[in-house]
Symmetry: C2
Subunit: 224 residues, 2 copies
């Protein structure tokens, strides 16, 4: 583009897919997954449907792009540790933290697992497991298992967050409610769940998630 500039990019601000995706992500972060509607987007961007659909294929495309942003930021940010085991833990906890901060990412990932963003995850996990000495015949099973575990937790997290969305009362009460319901169960018929209810109150989701990762890694070590 010779010309000096083609600036003043049309109207006062100039829309773009980037901008739209950013606005969508903000909406999702601020008001939860159910708040992302095309209508809410048009008012937030003070524009119309046409403008949005000119840059974006459909709502799914929008959600996918926003999720991709978050996940790929995690994957490029992960420290490449010398120890593959530590690097795997770093990938896992990086994903957990991102999903914890943006529950809608968890929902999208467990709903649409062939997303481009997950490609980076698979590649990273597969490579690290390879570096860990997992034999090739088990490599795909192992990587799939680990990623599926992460996706399971992602979905769970998203569901919990959605359940909390209702109101402030619901927010703090939700986990306690489940715990209360569980501890009210007949201890003879449901001994495990009954005991689990106590743990539920004082447990740390992140720690439990990482404990699960460790269990998988221990199991993977036996494949060597």
């Amino acid at each position: 583009m010779a010309k000096k500039t083609q600036r003043t990019p049309r109207r006062s601000d100039g829309l773009s897919k980037e901008l739209i995706v950013k606005a969508a992500a903000d909406l999702l972060d601020e008001r939860g997954e159910s708040a992302l509607t095309l209508r809410a987007l048009t008012t937030r961007l003070s524009t119309g449907y046409g403008a949005i659909y000119h840059h974006v294929e459909n709502k799914g495309d929008l959600l996918a792009a926003a999720t991709d942003d978050v996940v790929s930021r995690v994957m490029t940010g992960v420290v490449v540790d010398a120890d593959p085991r530590e690097a795997l833990r770093a990938v896992a906890s990086g994903l957990f933290d991102a999903i914890d901060a943006h529950p809608w990412v968890g929902a999208q990932l467990s709903r649409e697992p062939s997303m481009p963003a997950l490609l980076e995850v698979y590649e990273s996990v597969g490579g690290l497991l390879d570096a860990l000495g997992v034999p090739e015949r088990s490599l795909f099973d192992a990587a799939g298992a680990l990623v599926n575990y992460v996706l399971g937790v992602a979905g769970q997290n998203a569901a919990n967050a959605a359940a909390r969305d209702g109101g402030e009362a619901a927010r703090s009460a939700f986990l306690g409610d489940v715990a209360a319901r569980w501890s009210r169960l007949d201890p003879d018929r449901y001994p495990f769940v009954h005991k689990a209810a106590a743990h539920l109150r004082e447990h740390d989701d992140r720690e439990q998630f990482l404990a699960g990762v460790d269990i998988f890694l221990a199991g993977i070590a036996t494949l060597r």
Copy 2:
């Protein structure tokens, strides 16, 4: 009309929550998750909204009830093996088969993980892990990890099934499409995923799932 009967239970057939849930499950099985609409239900049952909403709280309640049916049928049907390890594998593969046959169950489970149906699963898994000798301090982490893995696979399966729903062309092509896309990737930048594409074509979802369960169980064994 002295007694005799109070049969002819109101109208020609007589609606009930059971009947409605059954019809919903049929609809889901036959035409996929997106086909379950209240409107479709009313025409299938040749009734109106009022009748349905009289027996059912809302659409979520309906989905939950249908899912509960499937899952609890699985859990009561599982053979109580003497060997806890085998019993765990039986629970896992029972769930997998049910989700494979009814992908909407997978979607619902990964979306709403505090469902009553999952209570039975947690209880069973927790009890079996206990019987396996997992120390109490690790019991909840282990059970959570295993269940989350199953939920992750469940969501993945549901997503794949939904992607196939489109048409017959899409149905058979879907997995091959992913494999093709993956194998077209730069082998230098994505060595693992590139190799995985080959496996993808000939892999068996069920076998891979069970391999994951075995990895998990091997990891559990190290907790002893």
